[in-house]
Amino acid sequence: MNLTERKDVKTIPIIEMNDEQLMDASKNFLLSLKLNEMKTIQEHFLKLERNPTDAELETLAQTWSEHCKHKVFNSSFEYVENGSSENIENLFKETIKKSTKEIMQKENWLVSVFEDNAGIISFNENFDIAFKVETHNHPSALDPYGGASTGVGGVVRDILGVGLGAKPFANTDVFCFALPETPKEKIPKGILHPKRIFKGVRAGVADYGNRLGIPTVNGAIFFDQRYLGNPLVYCGTLGIIPKGFHQKSPKQNDLIVALGARTGRDGIHGATFSSAELSDSTDSSAVQIGNPIEEKKFLDVLLKARDLKLYSSITDCGAGGFSSAVGEMGEETGAEVFLEKVPLKYAGLKPWEIWLSESQERMILSVPEKNIEKLKQLCNEENVEATVIGKFTNDKKLKVFFEKDLILNLDMNFLHKGLPKSKLKAVWNSEKEKATQFSEPENISEILKQILSMHNIASKESTVRLYDHEVQGGTLLKPFMGLTGEAPADSSVVTPVLGEKKAVAVSNSLNPWYGDIDPYWMAFSCVDEAVRNIVATGCEIERIALLDNFCWGSPEKEENLGKLVRTAKGCYSASKDFNAPFISGKDSFYNEFSVNGKIISVPGTLLISAMAVVKDVSKILSPGFKKAENLIYLTGNTFEELGGSAFAHLINDSNGKVPKVDSVKALKSYNALSKASSHGLVKGMHDLSDGGLGVALSEMCFAKNLGAEIDLKKIKTGENISRNDFLLFSESNSRLLVEVEAGKEKEFEKILKGTDFSLIGKVSKEPVLKITGLNGKKIVDQKIELLKNAWRKTLKW
């Protein structure tokens, strides 16, 4: 079959091109392909003795994009750490996936990992649960509202398209911005002010998530000036799916059905654009436009069609539009598509634009012919458009026609397996950790207030309240709890099946400041924090699964890749040690921005998201102190670990030791705490993270406006610590504050025997935080109201 010539289909003469011309073509067509990739394509078409059409070249570029193929993680590496070299055959398989594989050998609750749109684990005997977190960084930089809202829409479609479709029951979101108070004159040309980005992003998430009726239950906001030109927006969704619905495959002659919104020219080149650094000349037509009600409409219909088993496979139209949705779905069969059948928003699209458009709110189904009328009727009843645009074949070819003309004819095998593997070099040099350089400040009380007011620690309530976190009626542990709804919870607990005892706990953790010192311990710390956030729910935990999300700068720099490899190694160790497998993940590179020719890259940012199945929601602990005279324990071990801490940043010291993790001790401690909690001995629990003990104590007091009397001398430490500021603001991992009912200390300590813990004080009726320092003098004597005000004021807009 020959490809006919049409005016609206260009043929690109790559067979005759030299290296320079190939790279020019890659740039001019916004393909983001490297020279070796362009050459592989050239060779392929040389063999075919013809040149590719624009649609073919675009399809290859989309399918081979970093966004779709995770090229960096699947590359082999020469990794040089402190001068000694190591060969890594496939970074993903030897780190993230390795721990999962090892854990899978002894656990039977992993249903689908790394294969589909999202990871799936077993929930109860009738249902499984899926979780996915995506990034939408570049679109959010150009159009914060649109970028963030389509970020939500996209990840929700991932869940709708996992297996035969899961019902979304919770959203998470994590943002990284520059400081909203950045002076206007410091904003380079071509980028939006961080406050505008912040406001736009949170409005986008709120408007889209709220309209879909999915509760936004957990998240985080992290501030650092390196996000000025390239904010990060992570959107996550959890879904529930009946058992047995995780498998899917289209059959020969099944119809290809486009469901949902019409196709327009919005979002052309989204996938390849995510592999380009941003500048003041970036074209915003790469950003998609969202309409949540369109998505809600087919959400309702799809779940009905799923239960009637009307389709054999489903996937979302995300990056690359039809090209990647049909291309991926038909990989094992082959597919032919007739583009003139696609319903358009408006006339005038070129064939390749229809094929590549990333218009939102579209899904692709494979429907056995006998079911098509029933499906159409179902859709019709709810005003959802469903259109047959082609069918699956058995020739393992992807063929696309426009008005009877063949405009694309690609071999599935070349499309999916033809990408040349690259070998990358990664370099990591650890610097010797230096002790913290500053001396102990005099007014610790004032420092505590300043730390509470720091952007990364301050209350995020003003953002959280814009999101409906209660819709669907299953949110029990909410982001803010306590008497006045001002006390932060470490994780959220949601019951996806109303009335069930079992529920899902979800938490997030990121701390790129640790990564500035050592990304291995950043990864380990994140996993530990995500896990202990779930421990803090007080519930007995059946299983914990993790998601990894890497947002990095250019992978063309050896030191960026060195950090990446070291982070991935930390992920492997931590996941394995905590028996918490990764089930899905995402990576995003080229998160950088050029200002006057100088590249500013985001700090290597790893987000760890955790979901856990908790056995019995009646065991949930509300955060914060409950009753005067109850005892306050600090579990875990405190070290002089202030490297990358909030305190060190406040003081402007880039030295210090980064927090490490002793995972054996941590696990023992967490298990003991869960047991003590299930025996009813624990009344409140809170994890120590940014800002350390001082912040955790304050936050626990906010729940019922109670106070605390603490003696720092009582803290058992892992090394000799002679400074009050170190004890109060160290960010050593694996520690929790635990409120134990007065009189139950013997029982509690019996259960915790063999772990590290210290009884450091008691809850007081008077709403004042009183801390006695090492020298016996009172170093903090602050009204809770004042601490709370300090914590609430920073982001109260």
């Binding site: 009726g213 709810e382 005003n383 309240r465 209660e470 009626g473």
Partner: protein, 256 residues
């Protein structure tokens, strides 16, 4: 036979699964049906005792909250909902459902006229923002059949347009005189006139309110219950009472 409830939905409806769950928990046989099915005549309200409009963003709320769904009721279903009420049916509208009842002229239903022009409204919160938080309601002396045995009630709100505005002093006085004000906020979250959170019609069988009783049927949905969980004796969340009251009313009417 259990009383039968129906929740009518459209594009952009949400909060429907939890409303259905709450109705079932209270003892209703409950169906969830798209408005198109009523327009086409496939489903009839005659088969039901209770009609629910849940929260959400019907048709996106882009022309004002609930406006399009309200127009569908008015111009596509015409007299069907008014006739359902006149025949003794119960109607509950929560959040977007309340907005729909108000904008279609079903509430306040002065003189039992459920097809009049819109007279009161729910407008943008004073904060200008969507707000999701738990609030406390105080029951007023009213004709509502939903509130028996309730004095104070905690529930979450989740809305951007929940400020109740009667439009005129005259209408406000009429609502007061007729005992149509059902709930008031203890601490007004959105600027509602006289703290009004929910109203009923003159028969007491139609209730509209902004807060979500269906989100407080699990005992630990209320954060205060979780905070004081040692002292809890109840099995369900306090919001369930709204639904069991409706059920009891229908049963007692049947026995008359």
């Amino acid at each position: 036979m259990n009383p039968k409830a129906i929740v009518m939905r459209t594009a952009g409806t949400n909060c429907d699964t939890e409303l259905v769950y709450a109705l079932k928990l209270a003892g209703f046989d409950t169906d969830l049906i798209h408005v198109n099915s009523f327009i086409s005549g496939k489903t009839s309200l005659d088969d039901y005792d209770f009609l629910g409009f849940s929260g959400g963003f019907s048709h996106g709320d882009y022309l004002g909250s609930g406006k399009i769904f309200a127009n569908k009721l008015k111009y596509n279903l015409e007299k069907k909902v008014p006739q359902f009420i006149e025949k003794g049916g119960l109607v509950l509208g929560v959040c977007n459902g309340f907005q729909i009842l108000v904008k279609s002229g079903i509430l306040p239903g002065f003189n039992n006229d459920y097809s009049s022009e819109q007279s009161v409204t729910l407008s943008f919160n004073d904060s200008g923002n969507f707000q999701c938080e738990w609030i406390e309601l105080k029951k007023e002396q009213s004709k509502s059949v939903f509130t028996h045995g309730i004095d104070m009630l905690r529930m979450p709100i989740a809305h951007g347009e929940g400020k109740f505005d009667p439009g005129s002093e005259e209408i406000l006085n009429k609502l007061k005189k007729n005992n149509q004000i059902v709930f008031k906020y203890v601490n007004n979250p959105n600027g509602s006139v006289e703290n009004i959170a929910g109203i009923c019609d003159e028969t007491g069988r139609v209730l509209g309110l902004m807060p979500h009783p269906e989100r407080n049927v699990h005992i630990f949905s209320d954060p205060l219950k979780l905070l004081e969980k040692e002292n809890i004796k109840e099995k369900n969340g306090a919001g369930l009472k709204i639904f069991t009251n409706a059920l009891s009313y229908i049963k007692s009417e049947r026995n008359k």
